[in-house]
């Protein structure tokens, strides 16, 4: 079959990095084609070249027989290609409706926007495309991360493109939302739409993709039929070696409570939450998106104001009204929103990693550079952060590598309680295992870990104990032995609430 999209010999060099080195990528009409590779392999760069956001140093892009090199992003989109980029940008105070129709607002003529029609169409499209019940008048900044993502997807699909590129669309989505998205993708496929799909979740690839192209270090490894492949085989191609354990569970000896939270409340989002975390324990917190998990851990960390509730660290009541106070008590939070809250993209890897613990790297207010550099170098090596140097700005790193910078930030201090909010979103399989190992190391060193995650295998594979949240409350507590995927889902969807209350 003639290719719909043919990218040939693509090379792209950034100062200090060759992101793509002669990559070929060919997509045939009607297929769902996965683009796979480790963090920093060059997937997003390839997509941005297709989108006209970057100019390749070499190589051609041909779509439906027409050469796209040199076209602007608008011109590329006008040819029927839509993108859901990994790093989403939106205008915080724009409403959902304005965002959806940005640049193609329905007009009354004379440049006047037909607002009633815009909002009517916005609600229709939200429902039609993904079955979303989001108020089109709501400002973007009031939406949750997953809602923003769904709006972004809707926006791409409104134009009825013939090729859609998803760059890690499922990161912030819940299982239910992923199901819905896949149903949509399958429907699109049956209508003859072609899809390029980037994800670090291989189960997704096996669920929906027909073929897969694997990149490594900016070069092609292979293109294969998904039905002939196995997950382990693909991992081997991506990583270049065998991965032994997926969830290296460290069983540490569990000691005294290190964190005790009682009756934590904030409006309707967090209601009367109490729990204990022990030394050496990984406490999983599962729930659907919107269950209040992020909000709850933010209260523990002092990031938001709590209405009520008390916290004890190592048996001593403490007052935590700001992140600084939490950090001083030895509590760390790896936040969910990487670019907004996790890293400062306009600063270097080094500046980011040591920001929370900078005092420990200083004498009389002066930064002790040598010690600081050594510590940061160490994390770069340990987590395999792909960067030409520690003074490189974080904005130049690939998405997954930025996430590793966030993790290093919090592992760099000497936290007794480390809260991970969705730590492995956008992280490749190899690095995931590395992060799980680090959690294991934390607990065997006597710290306590709270793992908030929407990925059931991750929660089940790592936690010693699991709390399930539903609508701001803890609805179940399950031991490692009791927990099963069905049970987690049952409680996460509000099952058994009556017998808890």
């Amino acid at each position: 079959m003639a290719a719909l999209l043919e990218m040939k010999g693509i090379r792209k060099e950034f100062p200090g990095v060759v992101a793509l080195d002669g990559v070929d990528f060919s997509v045939v009409p009607g297929e769902i084609h996965a683009l796979l590779g480790e963090n920093g392999a060059g997937k997003s760069t390839l997509i941005k070249i297709l989108a006209g956001l970057y100019t390749p140093d070499r190589g051609t892009v041909v779509f439906r027989g027409e050469q796209l090199n040199g076209l602007s992003p608008q011109q590329v989109q006008a040819r029927g290609i839509a993108f859901i980029h990994q790093e989403r940008a939106y205008i915080p105070y724009f409403t959902v409706g304005q965002t959806l129709f940005l640049g193609r607002e329905p007009s009354r003529g004379a440049g006047l926007i037909d607002w009633p029609r815009l909002y009517r169409k916005a609600s229709e499209e939200l429902v039609r495309i993904l079955g979303l019940e989001i108020d089109p008048h709501a400002p973007m900044e009031s939406l949750t991360v997953s809602e923003k993502q769904l709006v972004d997807i809707t926006k791409a699909l409104i134009t009825n493109p013939s090729l859609i590129v998803f760059d890690e669309p499922t990161g912030p989505l819940s299982e239910g939302e992923i199901e819905r998205l896949f149903a949509v993708i399958k429907r699109l496929k049956s209508q003859g739409v072609t899809v390029v799909y980037i994800s670090h979740r291989l189960d997704e690839v096996f669920q929906i993709c027909d073929r897969a192209t694997v990149l490594k270090d900016g070069k092609n490894v292979t293109t294969l039929e998904v039905k002939d492949a196995t997950p382990d085989g693909i991992v081997r191609l991506m990583v270049g070696k065998e991965l032994k354990e997926k969830f290296p569970k460290v069983v540490a000896s569990i000691g005294d409570p290190i964190l005790e939270v009682s009756n934590l409340c904030r409006g309707h989002v967090v209601r009367n939450v109490s729990f204990k975390l022990r030394r050496g324990e990984i406490l999983g917190i599962y729930g659907l998106v919107g269950a209040g998990r992020t909000e709850m851990v933010r209260l523990v960390f002092g990031a938001d104001k709590k209405d009520a509730g008390s916290i004890m660290v190592e048996g001593v009541p403490v007052i935590i009204n700001s992140p600084r106070e939490a950090i001083d008590q030895g509590i760390a939070l790896v936040p969910e929103d990487r670019r907004g809250q996790g890293v400062i993209v306009e600063m270097s890897v080094r500046d980011n990693v040591t920001l929370p613990s900078l005092k420990g790297f200083s004498r009389a207010g002066f930064v002790a550079s040598r010690r600081e550099r050594a510590a940061v170098q160490n994390f770069v090596k340990q987590l395999n952060i792909k960067t030409p140097g520690i003074d490189h700005f974080v904005k130049y790193l690939s998405g997954g590598n930025q996430q590793k910078v966030v993790l290093s930030k919090w592992l760099c201090g000497s936290a007794k309680v480390v809260i991970f909010d969705q730590p492995t979103i956008g992280i490749d399989v190899g690095a995931k295992t590395e992060i799980y190992r680090l959690m294991g190391k934390l607990v065997s060193d006597g710290a306590g870990v709270i793992l908030v995650s929407s990925e059931i295998p991750e929660v089940l594979g790592l936690s010693d104990r699991i709390l399930v949240m539903y609508r701001g409350r803890i609805t179940a507590e399950l031991s490692r032995e009791e927990a099963t995927p069905d049970r987690l889902l049952f409680y996460a969807m509000g099952g058994g609430v009556a017998d808890v209350q």
Partner: protein, 331 residues
């Protein structure tokens, strides 16, 4: 090597990357050096020891103020009342001298004047969350009006009882062949360089300037850092004002006004010097030196007075346009 036939590019696109990267990173410095070379060739007496000291003395006040502006802008704000902080330093110190106080209490009084203005700015921005532009604009117009009331419509303040020699020294003294204001500039430069680029405080300032929320979640006291930036900036501006007052042995109301735009220009120009486009101490020094050298050169060349600011503006825009364009062409 990628010249082998198997790697033959299908379309070899031109790669102006290197050239533009160079312009983006070194364009402003190159422009500055070029200008100095041209001036030494055409302006009589430009490249002499005395003239270079003159330039340095002329830029000392602007240089010191630009340091404060750099700090505030690095922390994500702007200080439109920086000229009034300078005035506060000048008017308060010279009034105290006129009232018969000694040099030390007068200097401290002048600095305190700056501190009050900085604290009000800091309180408005960090405490109440007013946008920096508006907060400092408000303070700017209020203090300007107070100055006019205090000086009864803009009459300069002269200390008729004479100025103590130690106060005189600040603006007119020499250490060896070097005028004291130049020494003061050098000392402030060092201080601010250490503060912004070597101390933990500087790291926090940039972090807050780039992403206050991520900084807060990293345990940075965002409000304190913001507040501190405004206070330090105003105090250093007041110090510049004291030097100016000593130079002219009087308190001139609204003397600080012209420094506002020049200091902002110096910081912006300095940002084009730094690789990632950030406000930096050395960058701002280059910016201030650029502006000072332009003015000096035009005086030497006897350019008509009213054309001088036109030429300064044109050169400034030229450099900024080139550097900004180079940046967009970089990737």
């Amino acid at each position: 090597m990628h010249t082998g036939a198997e790697n033959r590019p299908i379309v070899a696109l031109r790669r102006p990357l290197l050239k533009w990267t160079f312009v983006a990173e070194y364009g402003t410095l190159a422009a500055f050096v070029t200008m100095c070379l041209v001036l030494s060739a055409i302006a009589p007496g430009f490249l002499t020891f005395d003239n270079i000291l003159t330039i340095l003395r002329q830029i000392s006040v602007l240089g010191i103020i630009s340091l404060g502006m750099t700090l505030v802008m690095a922390s994500g704000g702007i200080d439109l009342s920086i000229g009034e902080a300078l005035d506060a330093g000048a008017l308060v110190s010279i009034s105290l001298i006129a009232a018969g106080f000694g040099a030390v209490p007068s200097i401290l009084g002048g600095l305190a004047g700056g501190l009050v203005i900085g604290a009000i700015n800091g309180l408005l921005v960090a405490g109440f969350g007013v946008m920096p532009f508006l907060a400092t604009l408000g303070v700017h117009s209020m203090v300007m009006s107070l100055e006019m009331v205090y000086t009864r419509g803009g009459l300069p303040i002269y200390p008729y009882g004479g100025v103590p020699a130690s106060f005189n020294f600040l603006g007119r003294g020499f250490i060896g062949p070097v005028p004291f204001p130049v020494v003061a500039l050098a000392a402030c430069l060092l201080l601010f360089y250490l503060m912004l680029h070597r101390l933990t405080l500087g790291r926090y300032v940039y972090a807050v300037g780039e992403n206050p929320e991520a900084s807060r979640l990293s345990g940075v006291n965002v409000r304190l850092v913001t507040f501190g930036s405004y206070v330090i900036a105003s105090v250093i501006a007041a110090f510049a004002g004291i030097i100016l007052a000593s130079r002219v042995s009087s308190g001139q109301p609204l003397a600080g006004e012209p420094y506002l735009l020049d200091s902002i220009a110096a910081v912006f120009m300095g940002r084009t010097v730094s690789r990632e486009g950030k406000a930096s101490i050395l960058g701002s020094l280059v910016g201030a030196a650029f502006l000072g050298t332009v003015m000096n050169g035009m005086t030497l060349l006897n350019v008509v007075f009213y054309m001088q600011t036109f030429i300064k503006g044109a050169l400034l825009l030229g450099v900024l346009a080139l550097a900004s364009y180079a940046r967009t062409r970089r990737t």
